[in-house]
């Protein structure tokens, strides 16, 4: 009965989502305050119903209720408790449930924190959220119902895909979805603004916390996914330009652009149309990501199940939302007034440059991801666009952006002064140096590129704190004044500094790993020793072990340096009993920011040797520390008091307060 109650709650959520779409919309268009006042409560009710439904499904997993088809297909009573929980979203139906849970959570959050929004704007935003919820809840109920029953219940379930049996699954999808779906709020704000026909500086400020929230989660989710792939897949890579990774990266690029252009809109009322377009694009790319991953167009770890109907329905949803939004945009954007003017050398100019590069980068990734699909659909020919394409297109785009990042916060709004012009010269100087070094590299083959990369990385880190340094007045002002000034700085300044420094840290990590990593693939028998970047690695042997729902062969490697034992590394090959599926568990030892990474290959037939892959990955963890810094920066910005402006006092007292403020 409890299961059916969850099922009913999901159906009720669909019905309430329809109301959430219609009632606030009608209210906002007709100025009916009562209907507008129902909007927040509708959002709460839909969230409550979906949360109940999701809770019941989770209960089904934890209690191993195999009378639920979805639980039987993706769980097993022998699984550790954590994976019974995470198994809920380790499959198509459950992950869609997580998607709408987060969607309705954001709807409820907008309703909860939205008291500082004009009622009609809030009602419109909630209505658009309701439309998205209707589409996806309907999709779940009619094509991917997680509550389909199975009777009699089988004794044992089929187990969760072993690759997904990892703590990563507990963290990566929820973070990623919080990011993806978070952009739905920006999207809803954009649609609401277009329908209402008023887009101003205030709008940009209201959207900003939601963009930031989504961006923080997406950043963390992508970084987490990258680390997960790094240690779980056993290939030693941290980013594969896999279409699924790209699907999460495109909204990130668009979202980052949105974050910056909204800043211009808030301060200067410029770039309005562009900002609205970016808000639509960020969520459209999130939807596209969902489509690519969920439709089965791509075959990967993420495509849990391929079912053509689902693909078609998701495609229809995609076309409806993206197409509808863009048509609305085309119809309405011409009515928007132009904002403030600015010189090319100014904060606005720098942010515009940022936007141009980021959107071009997103377009590059878009082409690289969809072109092979299009070719396959048209000609049936399979081509693969891999790292070489992205290295040749994405990387060169990023270099000018990375060089320019530190300048941005230093430039004044509207028009930069002489100082700014001087900085422009520095850019040219930088380009010149770069060109010189490239020539040198081509001529002599010295590792100049690595040197350039490291230089850019440090330039970003140091440059990120230039604004903070400048504003502290050091060294002219005393330490005390400086400290006072620093503590008085708006938190968003610190946020910018940390996020930009994080970018530099990532750059350092990437350059270091690409240029200096060492890789060995060799056959080793127990007792063999090999050298790896000055370490001596001894293969002691293999032994079988029994896990809760798998058996594994664990190898033991002793790492030593100059005769001193440093670490024991235990990579393993596992076989998950229920699915008879083998997986590779990499063994990783972290030293400072660097790592030794060992993965096992296949045993060599007819001998006691096994293929072993060893890597020395210098500073590799910086790649994931960078995003952590970015997230910290985002949190700083989010806590800035500017984003917590209260609702206006009732109009009777408006004039007095205004007088007092002036």
């Amino acid at each position: 009965m409890i299961v059916e109650l969850g099922h009913y709650a999901l159906v009720l959520a669909l019905a309430l989502s329809v109301l959430q779409t219609v009632v606030p919309f009608v209210g906002a268009r007709t100025g009916d305050t009562r209907q507008m006042a129902m909007a927040p409560n509708l959002a709460f009710a839909v969230f409550a119903a979906i949360a109940l439904s999701f809770g019941v499904l989770t209960w089904g997993y934890v209690a191993s209720d195999f009378s639920i088809l979805n639980v039987w297909e993706n769980s097993n009573s022998q699984q550790p408790l954590l994976f019974k929980f995470t198994g809920v979203w380790g499959n198509h139906e459950g992950s869609m449930m997580l998607w709408i849970l987060i969607l309705s959570l954001f709807g409820a959050l907008v309703a909860f924190f939205g008291s500082n929004l004009p009622p009609s704007l809030r009602a419109m935003v909630i209505s658009v959220q309701g439309l998205i919820a209707t589409a996806f809840t309907g999709f779940i109920l009619f094509t991917s119902n997680p509550f389909t029953r199975l009777s009699p219940a089988p004794l044992e379930g089929q187990d969760l895909n072993p690759i997904l049996q990892d703590v990563g699954l507990a963290i990566h999808p929820p973070l990623l979805y919080l990011g993806y779906v978070g952009f739905s709020v920006c999207f809803a704000f954009a649609i609401a603004a277009l329908v209402e026909g008023r887009i101003d500086a205030a709008w940009a400020r209201w959207v900003r916390p939601w963009t930031l929230t989504a961006w923080i989660f997406l950043t963390a989710g992508i970084a987490m996914g990258s680390y997960w792939a790094y240690y779980e897949l056993g290939w030693g890579g941290w980013w594969f330009w896999d279409p699924v990774e790209n699907a999460s990266f495109m909204p990130w690029l668009a979202g980052t652009a949105l974050l910056h252009s909204a800043l211009v809109m808030e301060k200067r009322e410029a770039l309005k149309v562009w900002t609205i377009l970016l808000a639509i694009l960020a969520f459209s790319l999130s939807l596209l990501g969902t489509f690519l991953v969920r439709s089965g167009v791509l075959t990967s770890v993420h495509a849990f199940a391929s079912d053509p109907t689902r693909g078609v329905v998701i495609l229809a949803i995609l076309v409806f939302f993206i197409g509808g939004a863009l048509i609305l945009f085309a119809l309405r954007s011409s009515t928007l007034s132009n904002g403030g003017l600015f010189h090319p050398i100014s904060r606005e100019g720098a942010l515009l440059l940022n936007n141009l590069i980021l959107t071009t980068a997103a377009a590059t990734v878009f082409v690289g991801t969809l072109y092979p699909l299009a070719i396959e659909a048209l000609t049936g020919e399979k081509i693969s666009v891999g790292a070489p394409y992205f290295d040749a297109t994405f990387a060169p785009l990023m270099i000018p952006l990375l060089l320019a990042v530190p300048f941005g916060p230093l430039l004044a709004w509207k028009r930069g002064d002489l100082f700014g012009a001087a900085q422009r010269l520095y850019v040219f100087a930088g380009i010149a140096i770069l060109a010189g070094l490239v020539t040198l590299y081509l001529a002599t083959g010295a590792p100049v590129l690595a040197a350039i990369g490291v230089t850019i990385g440090f330039w970003l880190i140091v440059g990120a704190f230039a604004e903070v340094w400048q504003k502290s007045g050091l060294p002219k002002a005393g330490v005390r004044t400086a400290m006072a000034r620093l503590s008085g700085l708006p938190r968003s300044v610190w946020g910018t500094a940390f996020a930009h420094a994080g970018l530099g840290v990532i750059t350092l990590g990437i350059v270091s790993v690409s240029a200096f990593q060492e890789e060995h693939v060799l056959r080793m028998a127990p007792g063999d020793t090999t050298d790896l970047s000055g370490f001596s690695v001894l293969f002691e042997g293999m032994e079988p072990r029994q896990g809760p729902n798998y058996t594994e062969n664990v190898a033991t490697f002793q790492v030593s340096r100059d005769g001193k034992q440093i670490a024991t590394i235990n990579p393993a090959k596992r076989i998950y009993t229920a699915r008879r599926m083998p997986t590779t568990e990499a063994g990783i030892h972290t030293r400072g920011f660097s790592q030794i990474y060992i993965a096992l290959g296949d045993p060599v037939e007819g001998s006691n040797q096994i293929v072993v892959r060893l890597w020395w990955k210098p500073d590799v963890t910086l790649i994931w520390f960078g995003p952590i810094l970015m997230v910290i920066g985002g949190l700083f910005s989010l806590s800035d008091r500017r984003l917590r402006i209260g609702a206006p006092v009732p109009s009777a007292r408006r004039r007095q307060v205004l007088a007092a403020a002036e």
Binding site: L19, M38, N41, A63, Q546, G646
Partner: protein, 394 residues
């Protein structure tokens, strides 16, 4: 019923939350105008500007630029707010019919859709509950058995009147198995095979009956039945499960595990035997690979085991001896049965009665003297058991 009440309660509570603001009297005084919200933002920007200037974050000229710009926005919003206040949009003009329609729509749509996709009568079946069910024979299982007993009684009455109804025996035999009446099951399966011919399910059912009779071991009789069943239908799940069990009991644990794993991986296999194979894996896999945490005691055919265990050792021995004697007698009447001979030979050899076994080999070879293939089969079979074939091949 409880489900309907809870579902209705959920609907009412959520609708209550949703419609609460519409039911309350509107408070026009508390509602600010749209543009007041904009003013709030611009005023805050001005305040921010002042503090920035104080801190020296921006210089006076920059501050003036910014102040002028924000001031322009502020004035524009002021005007808009004033115009809005003058227009005095009528608030709270509740549209009764529309709200009523909305209130009716949600539960109606929910019920219609749920009726289409839901399974309202179906209970949750968490693992803990299912295990309890299996371990408490006094509850659900007893009830189920009562039903089966009723059916069995009817079938028995029918067959007493019509003992030649092969289909009747065919239906009755699996019920006996389920009730743990192994000897009746064996008898019924044998009659069904005699009257309707052999099929994989009948052979493997007979094998299971022998398995139960032997006290929960795959003895020679059971084994030969399972082998016969697999020969008839290589996909027969029950036989595949028991043959793997036989391998495990014979010490070939790896072979057994392999057999169970392929059974589990096979989509066509019957779920209950897949489940049994899972149990087998857990039991023997755990033993072979040392302590599987949380591995439970084997749950194979508890009732059968209980049933046979309740027999005295003498009874069991007598019963087995009786069965072999029957088989022996049957082969004397009808010697053209390779599987039968093999079963007999193996039974004797397993019981340690070597002379009888060799005698059976000899009689079998005599019976197949004119048939090269079958003769060869018996010779090979005897050799595999380490029995002499009476000089025929030497």
């Amino acid at each position: 019923m409880l489900f309907i009440i809870l579902a209705a309660l959920l609907t009412i509570v959520l609708l209550g939350i949703v419609f609460w603001p519409a039911l309350r009297p509107a408070e026009p005084a508390a509602t600010a105008h749209e543009h007041d919200f904009d003013l709030e933002i611009y005023k805050d920007q001005l305040r921010e500007l002042d503090t920035d200037l104080e801190r020296g974050v921006i210089n006076a000229a920059q501050a003036d630029y910014a102040r002028a710009e924000i001031g322009r926005r502020l004035l524009a919003a002021e005007d808009a707010a004033q115009a809005e206040a003058d227009a005095k949009r009528t608030a709270g003009n509740t549209r009764g019919p529309m709200l009523a329609a909305a209130a009716a729509f949600a539960p109606l749509a929910a019920v219609v859709i749920y009726a289409a996709v839901g399974s309202p009568g179906m209970d949750a079946q968490p693992l803990a509950g299912r295990l309890q069910e299996r371990q408490q024979p006094m509850t659900a299982q007893t009830l189920q058995n009562l039903d089966v007993k009723e059916l069995v009684k009817k079938a028995e009455d029918h067959l007493r009147a019509n003992p030649d109804d092969g289909r009747g025996w065919d239906v009755l035999a699996p019920m006996y198995l389920r009730l743990g009446r192994a000897d009746d099951a064996r008898d019924a399966f044998e009659r069904a095979i005699a009257m309707l011919g052999e099929t994989a399910p009948r052979r493997s059912g007979l094998g299971q009956a022998y398995y139960m009779l032997s006290g929960g071991a795959v003895d020679v009789n059971a084994r030969s039945e399972f082998e016969r069943a697999v020969a008839l239908d290589p996909n027969d799940s029950r036989s595949r499960f028991f043959l793997a069990l036989a391998a495990a009991e014979g010490g070939n644990v790896n072979g057994a595990l392999e057999g169970w794993k392929t059974l589990i991986a096979d989509n066509r296999a019957a779920p209950e035997w897949k489940a049994a194979a899972q149990e087998g894996l857990r039991r023997f896999g755990g033993e072979a690979l040392a302590m599987a945490p949380g591995s439970s005691a084997p749950q194979l055919d508890q009732e059968t085991v209980k049933n046979v265990q309740s027999m005295s050792a003498e009874d069991r021995q007598a019963m087995i001896g009786n069965m072999i004697a029957q088989l022996d007698a049957r082969l004397r009447d009808n010697p053209d049965d390779v599987a039968g001979w093999q079963r007999l030979i193996r039974s004797y050899s397993v019981l340690g009665k070597k002379p009888e076994a060799e005698d059976a080999v000899k009689r079998a070879l005599e019976a197949f003297a004119s048939d090269e293939t079958k003769h060869g089969q018996i010779v090979e079979f005897a050799a595999a058991l380490g029995l002499s074939s009476g000089g025929t091949t030497q």
